[in-house]
Each structure stands twice: as C-alpha cells, then as structure tokens.
Amino acid sequence: MAVTKKISLLILAIVIVLFAVSWIAKTGTFEDTGMPLGLSVRDGFLVTFAAFLTLSIFSFLYKDNPYYKFAEHLFVGVSAAYWMCVGFWSTFVGNFIPKVSEGLSNFFEVPYKGFDVFYFIPLILGIMLLLRMSSKIGWISRWSLAFIVGTTAGLNLIRYMRSDFISQVSNTFVPLVVDWQGFGAFFSDLSLNASGQLIMTMSNWVIFIGVFCGIIYFFFSKEHSGFFGGASKVGIWVLMVTFGASFGYTVMGRVSLLVGRLTFLFHDWLGLIN
C-alpha cells in the first residue's frame, strides 16, 4: 500500500509544481524574453485552473483517478448551485413574485404585474412538494405530482399526434413515378440532381417502402411471420441504414468539439498556435 501512496503523492507534487509554473508564466510580463504581455495575476490563475480542470476530465480516458474525482465533485456542486440561482432569479423572481406580492416586487426591483390569485396554485403545490421531507404527511406531495403528470399528458397527446403523426403521414404521399418521359430519358441520367428521373423515382419508392415496412416493424398485435415477417425484416434494415447514416453524419460534429477544446489548450494556455 505504501508504494502506491508514495507514487500518488509524487504525482500530486508534480501537478502542484506545474500549476505554479504555468500560473507564473501566464502572469508575468517578461520584456527580455519577448513573451506576449501576460495576463493579470487573477486571469493567470483562472486560465491555469481551467486548463487543469480540462486535463483532469481528459484523464478519465486513461482511468478513474483523484483528479477526475476532484473535477467531477466540483462540477456537481457548482452546477447544482448554478441551476438553483438561475431558477430563482428567472422564474421565482421573474415570473412568480410580480404576480403575487407588490412589496417583494419592489424589494427585488421587478415590475409589479398585478395580483393574480391563480398563482397561488403553484405556490401551494410547491409547498406540498417540500412536505415530502416529512414521512408523516409526505403522501400529500402526490397531489402536485399528479398535477404535473396531468399537464404533461394533456399537452403531449395532441402535440405529438399533430406534428409527429399526421404531418409525417401526409409528407409520405409521394408519387411513385416522377415526370415520366419515356424509357430513354429514364435511364439516361443517374446523377443525383433534379433532372435524374431514375434517382427521383427510386428515392420515392425507397421512402414509400421504407416508411411502410418501418411501421410494420413496430406492429405488436401480429406475429412477425410470413408477409409480415418479411416486411418487418425490410423495416429493420431501413432502420439500420438510418442509424448507421446518422451515426456517421454526426461524427464530424463530435470531432469539432474536441478540436475546440484542444485549441483552448494549445492556444489560450500554451500559446503554441496563433
């Protein structure tokens, strides 16, 4: 046990030394070495600390270590408080207080929007929720939960049916033949652009069959055998093309996130690239 303890202490020492070196390097203005004009003492510390946190998170790729634990726990604490503050100022002070009490509105210097008795509903439901702490009457919190779940179900039912069911069906009314000009023209142009009838017709066929079989794949009340089995197999194949294609399509987006972080390390911190 002693050996690993020593190694981890050694690593800790190295990290502290590097931290100090970077802080000084980023802060001082060395006229003779022609270093770029350093930042203020505080900014020097902040850049170094941000770089330290970035490297601690990256260290998780190697294995779980105390530096990742530090960054993780710090992130949890800071972010929980961040959301509480933003929630408090924007919703509680911004939406709730102006509608409930003039005194508080003046205290928080927010425009008073007139008393609205309906706003006591969320207040009561909110307090009911906090009663959850006490085991005796904790069950009362189910009332506020029921209100939330009712709102969700009511709003979503129509919204999903309207945008995701009905419009998707009408978007699939595609003609299976595109401006037919005889066989000659049909096979002449295999390019992707609008003049290629074969491609346009093929695309419409693929869309029609793909959606039809995709829906069959999700059918529950009939065993997937015979025609149904075949169609649902085609359906899962279309889904696989969808998943493979959208996976490959988003790789570029994910890689550019890493490019951004490494630019921060190489440029803002180490100044290696201009």
Binding site: I57, F60, K63, D64, Y68, K69, E72, H73, F75, V76, G77, V78, S79, A80, W83, L129, R132, S141, R142, L145, I148, V149, T151, T152, A153, L157, I158, M161, R162, F165, I166, S167, V169, S170, T172, F173, V174, P175, L176, V177, D179, W180, F208, V211, F212, I216, F218, F219, F220, S221, K222, E223, H224, L239, T242, F243, G244, S246, F247, T250
Partner: protein
Amino acid sequence: MKDYHRPQLLFQIFILPLVVILSLTSALTAQEQPVIPADSIIHIPAPTSNVVAVDYVYDRGETVELTWNLSPDDTIGGRIDGYELTRIEQSTGKMDTLEVIPAGISYYKDDKLTHGHKYAYLIRSVYFGAKSSPVSSNIITPSIEIINWRLANLFAIAFILCGSVIYFIAHAKKGKKLFIRKIAGLEAIDEAIGRATEMGRPILFVPGINDMDDVQTIAGITLLSRVAKVVADYDIRINMPVSRSLVMTTARETIKEAYIGAGRPDAYNDDMVRYITDEQFGYVAAVDGIMVRDKPATCFYLGAFFAESLILAETGNSIGAIQIAGTAQPAQLPFFVAACDYTLIGEELFAASAYLSNEPKQLGSLKGQDVGKFVAMIAIVIGVLIATLAELTGSSSLENLSEFMNRLFTIVS
C-alpha cells in the same frame, strides 16, 4: 339590453360622428402637409378600393383579416411605395397607424385586438411621403368562437386513435384474451436483472435527464417499478443517480412501494435514489464516476437522453456491464444501438411498461396503438396511389383528390 350598455350607446352617438369628421379633415390636411420639392411634382398615388375587414374565425376574437384591391398605380415599376394602415377603435375613437405594407401585397392580419370592441381601418396609398385620400373599411367586431372547426380533421383522427385505445382497454377489462407478440427487448430486461442477481453486483438505473414533465421519463419510472419488484424480492443493491429532484421523489416512492409489496419495508433506504445536479454534463461526470467505482453488473438507460448517451454507454461498456437502453429521442438511437446490448427503439419504450405489467387493460392500449399504425399504413397507400396516378395521367380530378388527401392530413393552426 343590459344596463351597463347604455352609457356606451350614448358615447357612440356623440363620439362616432366626431371621429368621422376628424379623420376626413386630417385626410384633407394630410395632402397639403408635405413640402413639394422644387425639381419634381410629387405624384400622389391613386387610393385603393374595396377594403374589406373580416373576423378571423375560430379564435379568441383578437384577430381581424384585412383585404383590399391594389391601387391602380400598383403595377410593375408603378410609382407607389406601399399602403399605410390606420386602425380606429370605434368606442374610444383612438387612432393608431399600424405599418406600411409594401406595394404588391393586399392582405394584412391584425391580431392585437380585444374581442367585443368595434374597429374600422383606413388605408392610404403612400409614395415618398405623399399619401392618397384614406379609404375606410367596414366596421368589424372580432368575436370568440366556441369551437374551432378548422381542427375538425385533427379531432376526427384523435377520436379514432383515442377511441380505439379506450375500446381495447374496455375490451380487455371484460377478460377477453389479447395476443401481443413477444418483444425481444423485454426478455433482455429479465435476463439483465438475472445476471445482476447471479453476480451479486448492483444495478444502475438512469431515468434520463429530463424532468417528470417528459413522457419518456414517466415511461422510465414505470419500468423502474417492474425492475424494483425484482430488486426487492432478490435483495439486489440498486443505485439510481437522478438529475431532477421531482424524479427523485417519484423514484423513491416507486421503489419504496416495491419493497413494501415484497414485504421488506425495512430494507428500503432513501439513499438508493440520489439527486446529483440538474446540469447535463455535471450529472454525466458523476454517473461515470459511480459506474467505474461501483462496477454495476447491469445498467438501464430508460428515458430522455441527449448528447451524453454515448458517454454513458461507452463507460458502461468499459466496465463490462450489460446495458439495456430505451429512448424516444431519434437522434440518440444510433449511439445506443451501436453501444448497448439491447435498445428499445422509440415506441417500444412506451410499450415495454404495458407489456411487462401483463395487466389486460395495459395490453389493450398496445392494440389501440396498432390501430393507429393501421390507419397510417392505409392512408399512406391510398395517398401514394392517388399521387402516382395523378402524376401519370395528369387528370385534374385526380390532382384535386390528391390535394384533398393532403389537406385531410394537414393541420392548419
């Protein structure tokens, strides 16, 4: 006539004529106001005609639609800039100029009115500051309509879908046997729990990062209750980090109920479900830490997931856990399909809780969903057929039919 209307009536008798005189005089004076520059005579554009104001139907009575004939000057390259709209509220006589509509456009929708008030509109053709004499519209009172008939097709389709779900639930209540095919993913859930019992390692359950106001989270919590039953019976350790406190209270309620059901209320402890943070990546960093340190045998990701889906799945894979995922976020399905052992795709997440409950009423609702798919398939086949024939034959009647099918399945807000 109710009493409180009388003063309004008097008011109208005196004020209305005053308003009309006022607007006429201002129109006359308006013409002299602009200083005529020396070098060119300012052309006064011809006024519009046939200005019609119509109440926009099926709304809360706050919107009026205004149409007019284009001014004779409004041709290609005609010397007219646009049309200046002025609204007059009849009861108070308040006049406010709305905006100048560019030439070539003859329609305007004014949605900042209050129902029951009377309004009239004046339109002047405008060209470089010179204005034509105003042409007034008819007086209009936007009214509330009780039923929004424009959404009749939405109502019909909603009626069919919800009706079929309710019918099959009632049908199942009467004890009729319903056939539901085996859903591969759901066996995987039982297997995964079995593995945790064998290895004696904990189960990690992640209900997604959205709050209780997301149906996917509710589906996740519903599945949690099925998993929690087995956890309570076999006394497996369950670890559930959550990123919303409402989900925390609900999940604790669900697990506690499972332990009471298993007759071991004392084995339940509130810390099985812990709130981490609302922040997406702060939460993911903590869950990754828990995974690597606790080394759960099985990980469940059931709910709404966003970019962090792959971070969870890859970390889970690095510790060799069986991973069952389920979400209705199409953008994240490719990552779960690639990285997890089994994925409930979209609708399967919602069907899973009904399937696992084995209650006839719940299974009935799955049948109802299938009716919806049946409707969709039939509509698509018909729609495509008509569109193809219309394209081939080019006959106008088929085109109208195709147009009708499109309108039937399009919801105008």
